[in-house]
Symmetry: C2
């Protein structure tokens, strides 16, 4: 692996590079013998992480085996400084070192990460206080109106061509798909997700929908196409909106869809449905009361709301590396914090569904395509970027598999609304996924 | 209406009478002219309650009309003292005065109560502080192990013959039914509820289930009969357990069911499923962390848990009259407090369903049968008791219709469990209700 500093394509502007850490690799590489306290540090690190089944290979080739078990994975550290960086703050350093090629992995990356998640989660209960304080994640950065613009630009404006390399070819969905059957293709599962959401909202022709955070606009187009509703979709990612508008025109749906380049906080009017797929993660806990107020004033008396978001079983900060390098400002709410939004708005929660393992499968499909296109990605950006994104995808697969992340769809309505479906049977009367995509 | 003090049947023991308020009616009855400030008080009361469409008829026949609208109901007060009692604390006094026959209603009682619930809920936002403090509900009494016994005895040991007069004849279910179709009979809907719960728990033959609070044992028998599982059901109501055991023997299911007369807190062992239908309302908020711990230790690694309970959209104390006269110690949790149990146990919430309007319909069916049998009830107890229970049923219908109460079914599992159903389609593949009951 080489450390490229040259710009390989126009996409590699300074801003896009800013979010991957560039360490002076040459200065830290060494073949020297590890000190005995360095070996002790590795052993200590393994114990603190719950003794996962992995072998460490140090910079000079020395090997440290796991205690009392077969190793399933090998972690290779290229230099002594990488070890110190890792020990000081594994949450942040693991991804950084991997991205920089100073930590190499033998074995399937998602499997290793899942093993680590499970092992650390179980071990954490017994950590001494000082370690819990040291290895903690940081508070997410601000998600105020102006900072939100930067946060979103950082990730979602990386370039539509980049996301097209590995997202589904049906509607460019960058959120959890719905694997109604385990063997669906990514395209089928993403369309099934859109259908499932529409059914939960009980859409009928002529209704009006407002969408907070629309990505490349696929849900709005699906709703307009299949349910004949009028959609107002808000987004602050300019690259995504350009795509969304062009695609709506191409599909001759632009008379039904208004893609608005504005912050969700500026939503106006009243609608039959309020929907937000994968935006709550970027809203920030401090803005939940305002979000509750916003939904309350935007929803007609008989209207239905659906929030779809990554979440947690209990409150926990976002992994430091993900918040710092991948998703600035991100905070997935615990299910309790999620529900608090509904309580604050005096809403009635009608339906909660957890699609956790569906997200693991979605990410697995994404990662397969990402890996198939990794040379192209490295040409568009550089090797560091490619490794960072591989780690992000693998780590996310692992987090959903290990139960560190959840995916909640929550349907709610005004507390005074009695125009409710009799039951949820209508969500399941016919397949949600199309047969051939 | 007469104030009976004689014991009409063996059922009317002093304890059972203790929970209905006996006011010295004769002393307060009067025909005197109302003072002008008494008329002012009534008008004020109406405004504070959000000006609902009801007419007051005072003890001497004087009428006070609602402001600017047609009256849909008439409230008749038999004596001046009733007015003062009502104004001082409507939450408690409305039910007491109705039970004592000192407040009479013209119009459908559930409709009146729904109108009042909606009107007061909307008006409350504008109440002055002093009124909010005056008209508040009280904290529920203790639900410690010994007090819980008294609380449960007070209500559930009223006598199986009494409950048989108006509950379903299929499995004596005293919890929300599931109206898969709106025109189901009470019997069909209660059996559909049991089936729906079993499906949500994904029961398979040979599994073991523990049930906290089993009523007359219908769920345990249904599970044993239809799913071939082994059930341990806990209850502290002796009358209910006697019925449950006799019925299990009669159905030759006693080899599969162990009805345990003990507090749920003493549950031991590990099971494939943990279920509790309509007990959480009696658990008390202060005991939620212990309940979370209990479920955590009682559930096998791949086990499923389901809690079914009355709840709220946001935290609120139980209506004072219901807590004092009907359900001592009762506190329906808000959905957030409900979910907190799952967070405390490090569980993963899989599914939440709100069956609010199903409970309104269940109660409507109960009330129809109760009214058909009201003479029998009055003979078993007395007229005061009958009126109190009519108010309880009507008020409950109203509370569910107006959205003041909700009914949540929450399914969850250990956060580490990956043995999850692909989706919820299997809950809906065939009708849950039997065709002929």
């Amino acid at each position: 692996m080489t450390q490229s500093t040259a710009q390989k394509t126009e996409r590699t502007d300074p801003e896009h590079k800013a979010h991957v850490l560039t360490l002076p690799l040459e200065e830290t590489q060494t073949d020297r013998q590890p000190h005995h306290y360095e070996r002790w540090l590795v052993a200590k690190l393994m114990r603190m992480a719950g003794s996962p089944p992995l072998r460490f290979r140090l910079w000079n080739g020395d090997v440290i085996e796991p205690e009392g078990q077969e190793a399933r994975f090998v972690l290779r550290l290229t230099d002594p400084k990488a070890l110190y960086t890792l020990v000081a703050n594994p949450n942040l350093a693991f991804g950084d070192l991997y991205s920089a090629g100073r930590l190499e992995v033998e074995g399937e990356l998602p499997d290793l990460m899942e093993t680590l998640y499970r092992s650390v989660h179980a071990a954490r209960q017994k950590w001494p206080r000082w370690l819990d304080a040291l290895w903690r994640n940081h508070n997410p950065r601000s998600t105020g109106i102006s900072e939100a613009r930067e946060n979103i630009h950082h990730h979602y404006d990386l370039g539509n061509e980049f996301y097209q390399l590995w997202l589904d070819r049906a509607e460019m969905q960058y959120t959890c798909a719905y694997y109604e059957q385990p063997d669906l293709t990514l395209e089928q599962a993403q369309l099934a997700k859109l259908e499932h959401v529409c059914r939960k909202l009980r859409l009928k022709p002529g209704m009006t929908v407002v969408e907070a955070g629309c990505g490349w606009g696929g849900l709005a187009r699906y709703m307009a196409r299949h349910y004949g509703v009028k959609v107002h979709s808000y987004n602050i990612s300019r690259e995504q909106l350009a795509y969304a508008r062009a695609e709506a025109r191409r599909q001759e749906l632009d008379h039904l869809i208004d893609y608005v380049e504005d912050d969700y906080r500026n939503i106006e009017g009243q609608y039959d449905a309020f929907v937000s797929i994968g935006m709550l993660e970027h809203v920030g806990k401090e803005n939940y009361p305002a979000l509750a107020e916003l939904i309350k004033r935007s929803l007609k008396p008989g209207g239905m709301a659906l929030l779809h978001s990554i979440g947690r079983n209990r409150p926990m900060l976002m992994n430091a590396w993900i918040e710092k390098r991948i998703f600035p400002g991100a905070y997935p709410p615990s299910i309790g914090e999620f529900i608090e939004i509904c309580e604050q708005g005096d809403f009635s929660v009608l339906d909660v569904e957890n699609l956790r393992l569906h997200y693991a499968q979605t990410l697995t499909h994404w990662m397969e395509r990402f890996n198939e296109n990794q040379d192209t990605v490295s040409e568009m950006y550089d090797e560091h970027f490619t490794r960072a994104w591989r780690m992000y995808l693998a780590g996310s697969i692992a987090a959903f598999r290990a139960g560190s992340l959840q995916l909640f769809q929550v349907v709610f309505t005004h507390g005074t609304n009695n125009d409710l479906p009799q039951n949820r049977k209508d969500l399941y009367t016919r397949p949600a996924a199309p047969e051939n995509v």
